[in-house]
């Protein structure tokens, strides 16, 4: 739509919806303060206010109903039951949908919102939200000043309606207005002169000032109101128009509006006013000259209020106080306003990405220079070496700074998940609650975005498959409310996201049985627990015996795993029978740079991500045990760990035997620890990740490539893929068409 203020509205609404969700969530707890309720109220209120400005009627109406309930909660006329809270929470979801719809110009079917509106109405009992109708009928384009008379209580008699009996001989030619300001009229910032000026715009006016209440100097209170006026206004305007002039001062003055009878117009000429009108009395204390002004009005005031032809006085000048010191600066709304909630800068993502790319090149460039310098045997300039080291540190600072631009807390992502839990719980008839922690953990923006779908699926899964039915929970002696725990944390250069349910845990025999029945594994396969767990990630696997609404969407955990792997991450499962299942997603902190160990394998230079390396060891030949023809195990600290020949896995020339090899102990999600055989370690450094996928598709065992300091290209190893043996299978048996996602044991 290209309306920047509308964009602002949607941006702001996004934040408001977040704090709305947050507030409602903390209201779930037993203890929440009034301010929480207030903030929820305000969030809805602000959404309504903004939506009204853009004539987003659906949104306004819905927000209004919501607000009404919140107002009742806030004023404690409505007791907040769990049921009401549930309605509010679900309504917040609906509100978010309405915002989405408004943003994309869609409309949400009325029956969808109607259900929520009814539920909201139900919170209050019948008829409480009747004001919605008022909003329904609200004409947004219309003048929005409220023109109705104020509730003025005892002063009601001030409105003397013109009676038909009065106009016998004479006709009504206007109004007689008696106006006596109260002291409060001045303290509320009103100015009688302005009111009279406004009145004069309605017609021909004759003004009489009543000075009788003006005391002499002794006991004169300059802050009090001493004057009153009687005005004859010849006008065709309605009485409403006259009342409108006094709209804001009802109750702050004595006001009588009566019909003015007289001979029909034309006899009246420009009637001189019988007394000057002075606004001087209105000036605040501390300006004694003003009091003098009553007797000696300023020239500007001497002119009578005439018909519209006479230029009205400039009341702004009349009431102007002595020259004020000029405000030092007028801070603007944007940027320069330090009071703003947070100063943000909106930048096109492309620009940031270009910058990230450039910084990547900068790091490579630095590495090249450093390498070159190192290779110089003679004339090595130590100063230069030092400067290059500074250069490296600076480049790294810049890189971190640039990455921080892309970093986003996972909070918004997590908040969306509580909705998923609610919906899934409603659909499955289970009680489930999402508990999150580490919301503030910052992750690359792309990761946040691309994690939304997999995470949604995992959360749904957790509710649908992870949690037991109410009956089963009761039978197991568990509380009826199932807990889904979603956490995020930084751990040594990685981001760890876990989804954990407190359900029954994986039923491994059943999983195996299903996999066999679906032909995913041979009928006679003997699988370890870890291998069985991995079956869940195979394409076409579903544990649900009846296809439920939630999970039967043709999306399995295999899709989740693909998405995570596409982000350079890993996913693993841990489960305890009877106590639940935990999925752990490990992601690289950034998608652009990583710390890697540069190694030589089969004469080729490869990079192994530091994050996956536990240690490097050169074992004694006695620690290596050959099993069968192919397998070698390393015995280390009393454990046996499989040894994987990386060269052979990747199809490089390999000696096939190793006596005292150099081993990289890596952690693999499939097989636990695993030792990779490499020829030598060259270096440990930061490398810039250059994706291969856009050019080469997915290459098994290789996650990406990088450019080294000497300008050579090196492949970045995917230790998991290597360790799992999947790669071996595909490289060694090129005839076998293998699903790369299929664990190797399937073909064993």
């Amino acid at each position: 739509m290209g309306n920047p203020i509308l964009d602002t509205f949607f941006e702001e609404t996004e934040e408001l919806l977040e704090s709305l969700a947050e507030g409602l969530e903390s209201m779930q707890g037993a203890e929440f303060d009034k301010e929480t309720v207030n903030s929820v109220f305000r969030a809805v209120h602000s959404i309504k206010g903004g939506a009204g400005a853009f004539k987003l009627t659906d949104l306004v109406n819905f927000a209004h109903s919501f607000e009404t309930v919140m107002d009742a909660v806030r004023s404690e006329t409505l007791n907040l039951t769990p049921q009401i809270l549930h309605t509010l929470t679900r309504s917040a979801d609906c509100l978010a949908d309405l915002v989405d719809a408004a943003r994309s110009g869609r409309t949400i079917p009325e029956e969808v919102t109607a259900a929520f509106l009814t539920a909201l109405q139900g919170c209050l009992g019948e008829g409480e939200i009747e004001a919605v109708d008022a909003w329904d009928n609200f004409e947004f384009a219309a003048v929005t000043l409220d023109l109705g008379p104020m509730d003025i209580g005892a002063e009601d008699e001030a409105y003397v309606a013109p009676t038909a009996a009065e106009d016998k001989a004479q006709v009504k030619v206007g109004f007689r207005i008696d106006f006596r300001p109260h002291r409060g009229l001045f303290t509320n910032g009103h100015e009688p002169a302005l009111l009279l000026a406004a009145l004069s715009e309605l017609g021909q006016m004759t003004t009489n000032i009543d000075l009788s209440n003006l005391r002499d100097w002794t006991g004169f209170d300059p802050t009090d109101s001493h004057l009153s006026w009687s005005v004859d206004l010849r006008s065709d305007e309605s009485e409403i128009a006259v009342q409108d002039v006094f709209e804001f001062v009802h109750g702050l003055c004595d006001l009588k509006i009566a019909p003015l009878m007289g001979s029909p117009p034309a006899t009246q000429t420009d009637a001189p006013s019988t007394g000057p009108i002075s606004g001087a009395i209105a000036t605040p204390v501390g300006e004694p000259a003003a009091v003098v002004g009553v007797q000696a009005p300023k020239p500007a005031l001497a002119e009578p209020f005439g018909p519209a032809s006479a230029p009205p006085p400039q009341p702004a000048q009349m009431i102007a106080s002595p020259a004020r010191p000029k405000a030092k600066s007028e801070r603007g709304e944007d940027g320069s306003d330090p009071k703003g909630p947070k100063a943000t800068l909106r930048v096109d993502l492309d620009r940031v990405d270009r910058l990230i790319n450039a910084v990547g090149e900068l790091i490579i460039n630095q590495a090249m220079i450093a390498q070159r310098l190192q290779d110089m045997t003679s004339n090595r300039d130590d100063d230069l070496v030092m400067h290059i080291e500074d250069y490296r540190l600076l480049a790294r600072d810049i890189q971190e700074g640039v990455m921080a631009i892309r970093a986003q807390p996972v909070k918004s992502l997590f908040q969306r998940m509580s909705r998923i839990v609610r919906e899934a719980a409603d659909t499955t008839g289970k009680n489930a609650e999402l508990v999150t922690s580490g919301d503030g953990t910052e992750v690359d923006k792309t990761v946040v975005e691309r994690l939304a779908d997999p995470l949604t699926h995992m959360i749904r899964n957790a509710v649908d498959h992870g949690l037991e039915s109410r009956e089963a929970r009761a039978a197991a002696g568990k509380p009826p409310m199932g807990i889904i725990r979603l956490t995020a944390a930084h751990r040594s250069g990685s981001v760890i996201i876990t989804v954990k349910d407190d359900g029954a845990g994986l039923n491994r025999p059943k999983i195996l049985e299903i996999a066999k029945s679906k032909g995913l594994v041979p009928p006679d396969a003997e699988l370890t627990d870890a291998e069985i767990d991995q079956l869940l990630f195979m394409a076409g696997f579903s544990t649900a015996t009846t296809v439920s609404n939630l999970s039967g969407r043709g999306v399995g955990l295999d899709v989740v795993r693909n998405a995570v792997q596409a982000l350079g991450g890993r996913i693993s499962i841990a489960t305890t029978r009877g106590f639940g299942t935990e999925f752990t997603i490990t992601l690289p902190l950034t998608l652009a740079v990583m710390d890697g160990m540069v190694v030589t394998v089969g004469g080729q230079t490869l990079v192994v991500p530091i994050t996956s390396i536990i240690e490097t060891i050169r074992p004694l030949s006695t620690d290596l045990h050959k099993i069968g023809t192919d397998e070698t195990l390393l015995s280390i600290r009393g454990r046996m760990i499989p040894v994987v020949d990386v060269a052979r896995s990747l199809g490089f020339p390999s000696a096939g035997t190793f006596n005292a090899p150099l081993l990289l102990l890596v952690e693999s999600e499939h097989l636990g620890e695993c030792a990779l055989v490499v020829d030598s370690v060259q270096d440990q450094r930061q490398v810039v990740i250059k994706s291969l996928e856009s050019n080469f598709g997915s290459v098994p065992g290789v996650s990406a490539a990088t450019v080294l300091g000497d300008g050579r290209i090196a492949l970045i190893l995917d230790p998991d893929a290597i360790a799992s043996g999947r790669v071996t299978a595909s490289y060694q048996k090129p005839n076998t068409i293998l699903n790369a996602e299929r664990p190797a044991y399937v073909n064993a």
Binding site: S39, S46, T144, H190, L194, A197, F248, A316, R324, K339
Partner: protein, 124 residues
């Protein structure tokens, strides 16, 4: 002399809307994000008119009016209250609190500017 308007509203959308209307009308526009900010800005900006929201964090609109009316800087400055409700109760409460007038949201440019002119005496 350009009329100085100070708008106090926690909603950025409303602030931006007010800004566009006020600047189009040739006023000098400043804004504050909540009541406390508003009262601080009031002392700095010394506006000719204040427009304030009611529901705000930290200090609500009534608090703002009270602070200005009880303060010693131009305590009779016109103060308009922005409200989404048009109920009489709300208005009399605003009036009792010392508001000069009120503007019902959603507002339109013309009536907003005319109300401002009306209470400040600025003639078009």
């Amino acid at each position: 002399m350009t009329l100085k308007v100070l708008a106090i509203d926690d909603s950025k959308t409303i602030r931006e809307l007010l800004r566009s209307v006020m600047e189009a009308a040739g006023f000098d526009f400043s804004s504050a994000v909540d009541g406390v900010d508003g009262v601080e800005r009031y002392a700095e900006v010394r506006p000719d008119i204040v427009i304030t929201d009611i529901n705000m964090p930290k200090m609500d609109g009534y608090g703002v009016i009270d602070a200005i009316r009880k303060g010693d800087i131009d305590n009779q400055v016109p103060i308009l209250v922005l409200t989404t409700e048009s109920g009489d109760k709300l208005k009399s409460r605003a009036r009792d609190a010392g508001a000069t007038g009120w503007i019902v949201k959603p507002f339109d440019d013309v009536s907003l500017v005319s109300v401002i002119r009306r209470v400040t005496g600025l003639v078009a």
